[in-house]
């Protein structure tokens, strides 16, 4: 359970980090909070020749608001965002999901952008970004570009990013003050990976529904026609019946379908409270 040896680069600028990543393409991984990468290295599921550490780069710790978005820098820890949002009414989705992201000692180190880059299908932050129709800003030696959440998550632990691209910011759209949110998750222990989760965002445009843990990627559905809780419940029942729902040794598809319905009921109750 020890990592294989690797070269370690701790640059002070993003330009240096991108250059290093580009020069070592395919054999270098980006280290931010390390709460997923370090176990992966320890179990030798990955043994890259080098790591580039973002933690000494200035400016990546920033959390700010601009143009209707909450912008979260690459080195913002999950617990840091959780604290920053304590008094922020326009970001109820993140306030609802963050307490479910692993256990506090992990959130104290793990980063928001790192969780998105890891693309675990049960990850709460990936579900939040997708359901809010957010995006990430990525940087490489070729420059910067935005990637929408919809295009970012392509498979289990897979993103559409190139191997030399670094997520430098996550952009979460702010919600209208009249928006209501419901979030419910089932895990075998609070803080463990979600077996299934349901996120509902209700605002004047309609209802957005998100499912975590049921497929290779988080799923989001637009329901501009369903303003009534009974209609949303109906839609969740249909989806739970018709979707291809994954199974694993601990949890059958059948149980996950059941969970979607009961978690959906809880989320509806919160969103229409």
């Amino acid at each position: 359970m020890k990592s294989a040896a690797f070269d370690f680069y701790r640059p002070s600028t993003l330009t240096d980090a991108c250059k290093f990543l580009s020069d070592h393409q395919g054999d270098c991984r980006v280290l931010a909070g390390g709460q997923t990468l370090i176990p992966t290295l320890a179990m030798r599921m990955a043994s890259p020749g080098s790591l580039v550490d973002l933690s000494l780069i200035d400016g990546l710790q920033a959390i700010r608001y601009a143009n209707g978005e909450l912008i979260v820098g690459a080195m913002v820890r999950q617990s840091g965002l959780e604290r920053a949002l304590k008094h922020q009414a326009h970001q109820p989705v993140l306030s609802a999901v963050l307490p479910w992201v692993a256990h506090p000692p992990i959130r104290n180190r793990g980063t928001v952008c790192g969780s998105l880059a890891h693309a675990d299908p049960s990850a709460e932050l990936a579900l939040a970004l997708l359901t809010l129709e957010g995006r990430v800003l990525v940087q490489s030696t070729r420059g910067q570009r935005f990637v929408s959440a919809k295009d970012l998550f392509v498979g289990t632990l897979q993103t559409s990013l190139e191997p030399d691209e670094i997520i430098v910011q996550a952009h979460f759209p702010m919600l209208d003050s009249s928006a209501a949110v419901g979030f419910s998750e089932f895990g075998y222990r609070h803080g463990d990976f979600a077996v299934a989760s349901v996120l509902l965002v209700r605002d004047p445009r309609g209802v957005r529904l998100g499912f975590g843990g049921v497929d290779d990627v988080p799923l989001a559905f637009d329901m501009t026609d369903a303003f009534h809780p009974a209609a949303v419940k109906e839609r969740i029942l249909e989806l739970a019946r018709d979707l291809d729902v994954r199974s694993d040794p601990n949890t059958s598809s059948e149980f996950r379908r059941h969970l979607l319905c009961s978690l959906g009921d809880q989320a509806i109750a919160q969103a229409w409270a």
Binding site: K2, A5, S12, I38, P39, A42, P104, P105, R109
Partner: protein, 169 residues
């Protein structure tokens, strides 16, 4: 590339940090975890190496005052930071009130998970001096105890919270 900031896999640069208020240093490889750095220091084997992938919580320490898994940080990432381990709790051979309560409530059986649990419990009590049983249980959910001794831990922590707030009054 900024070569001053680069370590070859075979390099063993000096890594310096503050552990329980004392300056500690070692020459270590990039892959050395904070956990291994600590345990290689004389007298600091109290931090236990359990699962070494962040699940069990036995290696939990305070990193700049916040609980973190020492197996999930590389030592060089912690250079210059302040670390508190279980050895920092008892002073002059006297157990703290929390440690005494753990003993009194039989909150440990084999004791393997205890160093990490004590760190989490002490941090909880500093941040939240009057926790509910639910809050204590949630904090403890970051730890695995193979002897299933959670009830004793919960009682010990609640007992200390009561005693400390009574003393304050």
């Amino acid at each position: 590339m900024d070569t001053k900031r680069y370590m070859n896999k075979n390099d063993r640069p000096l890594c310096v940090m503050t552990v329980n208020g004392t300056r500690r240093q070692a020459e270590c490889e990039p892959r050395t975890t904070l956990l291994d750095f600590l345990r290689a220091q004389p007298g600091l084997t109290g931090t236990h190496a359990g699962c070494e992938h962040g699940v069990c919580g036995a290696c939990t320490v305070l990193l700049n005052g916040e609980p973190a898994r020492s197996c999930l940080a590389f030592a060089h990432q912690c250079a210059g930071l302040s670390v508190e381990t279980v050895e920092g709790m008892a002073t002059g051979g006297m157990l703290t009130d929390l440690q005494q309560a753990f003993s009194r409530h039989h909150a440990l059986q084999c004791g393997f998970c205890t160093p990490g649990v004590l760190i989490t419990a002490e941090h909880l009590l500093r941040k939240c001096p009057d926790p509910t049983e639910q809050q204590v249980r949630e904090a403890l959910s970051a730890h695995l105890c193979r002897c299933t001794g959670y009830t004793g831990m919960v009682q010990a922590i609640l007992d200390v919270a009561r005693a400390r707030s009574a003393k304050q009054r």
